[in-house]
């Protein structure tokens, strides 16, 4: 099943965060817990992990983009056997 992963609210009240670095590649199969990207907001760097096993399909934001909470980050395929 194809899904779109959105920017999470990493801190209560946060409106957006800068997508600083992709830690995976398009087309890469990753396991739950793999660090997918890093953001920085208010001098705090956070590594965000995959919540389930997935294949990263396509990035929808580039490194350096400021992405609103709930804004699209990447497409992925989940639920593969």
């Amino acid at each position: 099943m194809k899904i779109t992963v959105m920017m999470p609210e990493l801190k209560k009240g946060m409106k957006s965060a800068v997508l600083c670095r992709w830690c995976v590649e398009e087309g890469q199969k990753i396991e739950k817990g793999t660090e997918v990207f890093e953001t920085e907001t208010e001098k705090a760097v956070s590594a965000v992990e995959a919540e389930e096993d997935m294949t990263v399909l396509r990035f929808l934001a580039e490194e350096g983009d400021e992405v609103a909470v709930g804004g699209p980050l990447f497409e992925a395929e989940v639920g593969e056997k």
């Binding site: 990493l10 801190k11 800068v18 670095r21 907001t41 208010e42 760097v45 956070s46 590594a47 350096g64």
Partner: protein, 315 residues
């Protein structure tokens, strides 16, 4: 809380040691105090070339390093006390007040009317301590500077000579704010070591410290290599764009380039200055690399070094 007083003044080691403690899965809380020899330390996602005159720093024997936490460029050196908290990540992972409040409280016990917003500690609106954080899934590292008796003009020496306008976009910018030292604000004078001891006792609740010798030095030293490597300091540079006019004895040219992950993605030169841009496309942006490559492509050494300085600073 385990209190650690690091003896090393080597910035690369100290950053590596911090990261080693951050990686431990013991559930322990750490409070670390450390001081370095002169160095510029940029934030994780800063454009190191926009934030620091790297060629000047290296000529002056000042190290340039990239840390794993966010925020802007800071100066490490005599009179500056660095502190680090390492603990389990809370549900609200980006909350800095739980770390900066104990530091502000300690300063108030010394008669300094310190306040904090979770990032900076200020006295009457002037910063005496800045900080930054990084979080993994389980742990948070929060570190900061305490300007006890630091050279407040040192950082600007290496930041003001960069032509900021040449760096068009990319990288988290530093916020330049007014800063002050703590020593003149104290109601009774203390030495730097007495100040450090007081901060340690106030925050960690102990006057007993471990040192780096009490831990796995091999792991810390392995991390030290990371902080010394150009692949980390320059290779982890965020995407950015540059454009400026280079006027040299040999001619003038507007040179524009784009960089991603520390490499020249594309470069153009327009003018009468003979720059072999083909030789620079795909090149790592690292001090020495550009001049060497240009010299290898037949450019006279002096011009090669001039072009390198321009591409790294805009000067």
């Amino acid at each position: 809380m385990i209190a650690v007083r690091v003896k090393s003044r080597d910035t690369a080691f100290d950053l590596g040691f911090e990261e080693y403690l951050f990686s431990l899965d013991t559930g322990d809380d750490f409070f670390v105090l450390w001081t370095d020899d002169p160095a510029v330390v940029v934030g994780r996602f800063q454009n190191v070339f926009r934030e620091t005159d790297v060629p000047l720093a290296l000529r002056r024997g000042v190290g340039v390093f990239r840390r794993i936490t966010g925020g802007g460029a800071v100066w490490h050196g005599a009179g500056n006390l660095n502190y680090t908290f390492i603990s389990d990540r809370t549900a609200d992972g980006a909350d800095g007040v739980r770390f900066t409040r104990p530091v502000a409280d300690a300063l108030r016990r010394l008669g300094v009317p310190a306040e904090t917003d979770g990032s900076d500690v200020t006295v009457r609106g002037v910063k005496v301590s800045g900080s930054a954080r990084a979080s993994s899934a389980k742990r948070t590292i929060h570190h900061g500077t305490l300007l006890f008796d630091a050279d407040l003009s040192a950082l600007s020496l290496f930041t003001s000579s960069v032509v900021d306008g040449a760096f068009l976009k990319g990288g988290v910018p530093s916020r330049r704010t007014e800063a002050a030292n703590i020593a003149p604000l104290l109601t009774a004078p203390v030495t730097f070591d007495e100040f450090a001891s007081f901060i340690g006792e106030s925050v960690a609740g102990t006057d007993t410290y471990l040192t780096e010798d009490d831990f796995d030095l091999a792991a810390a030293l392995a991390n030290r290599e990371k902080y010394l490597s150009p692949g980390w300091t320059y290779g982890e540079n965020p995407r950015f764009e540059f454009s400026g006019v280079l006027a040299a004895e040999e001619g003038t040219a507007r040179i524009s380039y784009r960089s991603r992950r520390g490499v020249v993605d594309s470069i153009e030169s327009d003018g009468d200055l003979p720059i072999p841009t083909d030789a620079l496309a795909g090149l790592k942006l690292s001090p020495g690399e550009i001049a060497r490559t240009l010299a290898g492509a037949g450019v006279a050494r002096r011009l090669a070094e001039r072009v390198e300085e321009f591409l790294l600073t805009g000067k």
